[in-house]
Symmetry: C2
Subunit: 412 residues, 2 copies
């Protein structure tokens, strides 16, 4: 969209990280909190390798403190020697957790604590000065071990803006690599995201990571808008799996970003692997790919209405912002229905290698639409209507063919 | 979110239609363009009644010009005498189509034409002066019949802004009820939506309707942002079904709006019916409800991580922006997994009506987490671990119970 956007360039475009974002995939942390997720070590290793091969910049893992097995898994994934992805683990803002985390072999640590009134009252019960003190201690410790560190506030969009700015500027000064802004309950909307991220961006030197839940269906758009406001790192999960209905889905986010930063996205991430990656996770957590999933939903590149099919046949960009070939997929013109048009049927006649004039195709299209009024049509139904009609015309056309042959002989 | 939004009020809030939007449901038009859709008359009547009962403001139907059956269906739905929903039909900007549409009994007509270079070149081949002339003729005709009329440009976000403003101000002057802004290819993003809608809103007196496709996962957020910019009417489909991967889903949009305008949404729409409405459509078009669907996805109100479960048990608002009761649903604390915490297990112990101290519950929680490291756990597994542990404690506690009974006798 960037090329055709009549509103660009614009002064605010210069703070945008849309053409240089990075992905922190959390399928092996947030995704493990999905109701159906139970990842064996073998599957965790398989998922980590697939994410690395796709090209995500970071892979975030469940805290090694969660259980004995969790710790062994973090260590095993760190030993894989991945090519593209750095390894993070996600821990509470406690020295106890930090001490265990830095021994596992990870490249960095993502610490979090709730700063909203809701969480301060009902979850950990700590006040802001305690939170700040813990944050400084943990950050200095992790940095002393030579690891990357992110400090994140849970439920940032229901936290007091003064509290947020205080703690973020504090951790920024002591050298945190990234701060994290999280919409833990999935209630934020894009303009609110833009305002908050842009305000924080103007107050800190470090980079900004974001984590958007999808309860109100805005996760992808919020992530995109956060990049426009100057955030750089987006948390994703394959198929968006996570607590409740999950977070920003990796595939859907790629659909958004390939439209907005096509060269960057296509050169950096192996988009052809999205389908396999989604199928891998869907099998492991036993869900179906949603019918309306961006890119890989079964009908994402299916065109049905006659008016759409006509234009798509002339130029696919008319009704497609995504090119299915970028994802190793193909488009499909759905011609077997009562909304079909004669351009779609003409394309099918040509695929069947039959010879009909435009007027004849319009007649057979009407026959198909009439049948489509009565019952659902399969491709075979349409093909047999076309072939029957073609057979009838060729009976009478035989003479025409002879005429043509005769004419050709005369002019040759 | 409006109540807790620290950025409100703000001068731009006064152009917002967030607390007074209306729904134009297009399941029976856009939805009919979904790859799997074949609606019999009987099913169309059932869907129209269900949408009316839910409370959508308008129902949009496939053009009566599409086929003979389509015309009969429009007439049949108009005769239903719906209580809440006005009936529209969606036609090309042609006098031929308009003359047929106004005879069907509809309350209004939604006309559309493509104004982007892509569509002008590859679809209808008409220039802007021809488009303007057709628009005026059709609008005046429909108004002369006493019906509502909307004029819409397809692919508005790839159209020239000067062309758009010219045609919208023209049709506004001749008295169109609504203009429609359509992201036909699903490539728009929220801030672009805000800019375009707000610019157009400041140039016309009529209302603005929007139509957002979901190819890049931003449809709900774009619709919400359009309302903030002054649009009032949002096109939806049940489950978002439509061309390719569809448009704004009615249920997901309700999740967004109930957070932003709770009183308005709860008093106007029967949110308890979303599940039945979605099941009705899913059955007819033979798809599954997506696992991650807002509100009705199987895990939309399931909480799994120990830290979430603890806080949710103390106050559901900590990790929920939506209240499941608003939709006739219930929340579920997922305690049968290795990420569980002792607060979640304590809640289960209480549900089982067993008597364990906090220290005992912490011990049994560790046993559960160890088992969860080894294999997926069912609720029965956890219950049997708890009951086994409880049985062992009661063997030794028998004496305690006797002591208690003795003590009680003494104090009674």
């Amino acid at each position: 969209m960037s090329n055709s956007n009549p509103y660009a360039p614009n002064p605010s475009d210069f703070i945008s990280n849309v053409p240089r974002f990075e992905i922190i995939d959390s399928t092996l942390r947030e995704g493990e909190q999905f109701a159906n997720a139970f990842f064996t070590l073998e599957n965790k290793l398989k998922i980590a390798r697939a994410l690395d091969d796709f090209g995500v910049d970071y892979i975030e893992l469940t805290s090694p403190v969660a259980s004995d097995q969790a710790r062994e898994e973090v260590e095993a994934i760190c030993k894989l020697g991945l090519k593209n992805s750095k390894i993070l683990t996600h821990i509470r803002c406690h020295m106890h957790d930090a001490k265990i985390a830095v021994e596992t072999g990870v490249d960095g640590v993502n610490v979090f604590i709730g700063t909203s009134n809701f969480l301060r009252t009902h979850s950990h019960g700590k006040d802001m000065s305690f939170i700040t003190k813990s944050a400084i201690e943990v950050i200095q410790f992790v940095k002393s071990k030579g690891l990357e560190i992110r400090f994140s506030t849970e439920d940032s969009f229901r936290s007091d803006i003064v509290d947020l700015l205080n703690i973020y500027t504090t951790v920024d000064k002591i050298g945190v690599n990234r701060i994290g802004i999280a919409d833990t309950v999935g209630g934020a909307n894009p303009r609110q995201v833009y305002d908050l991220i842009r305000t924080i961006k103007s107050s800190v030197k470090c980079e900004i990571e974001t984590h958007f839940h999808n309860d109100t269906g805005c996760a992808i758009a919020n992530a995109y808008t956060a990049l426009e406001a100057g955030a750089k790192f987006i948390d994703t999960c394959v198929l968006g799996i996570g607590e409740r209905n999950g977070i920003v889905p990796l595939g859907g986010f790629m659909a958004r970003m390939v439209v907005s930063a096509p060269e960057y996205v296509k050169s950096k991430y192996k988009l052809h692997q999205i389908r396999d990656l989604e199928n891998l996770i869907a099998d492991i957590v036993q869900v179906n790919i949603p019918f309306n999933n961006p890119i890989t939903g079964f009908c994402a590149f299916t065109h049905k209405a006659g008016i759409h099919a006509k234009a798509i046949l002339a130029n696919p960009s008319t009704y497609e912002i995504l090119n299915p070939q970028d994802f190793g997929l193909t488009r499909y013109i759905h011609f077997a229905n009562r909304l079909t048009g004669w351009n779609a049927i003409k394309a099918r006649v040509e695929q069947l290698n039959l010879d009909l004039t435009d007027d004849q195709i319009k007649i057979v299209t009407n026959q198909i639409k009439q049948m489509g009024d009565i019952r659902p049509l399969g491709i075979e139904d349409v093909d047999s209507i076309i072939k029957d009609y073609h057979a009838k015309t060729t009976e009478t056309v035989d003479t025409t063919d002879s005429n043509r042959a005769a004419k050709r002989q005369r002019t040759d």
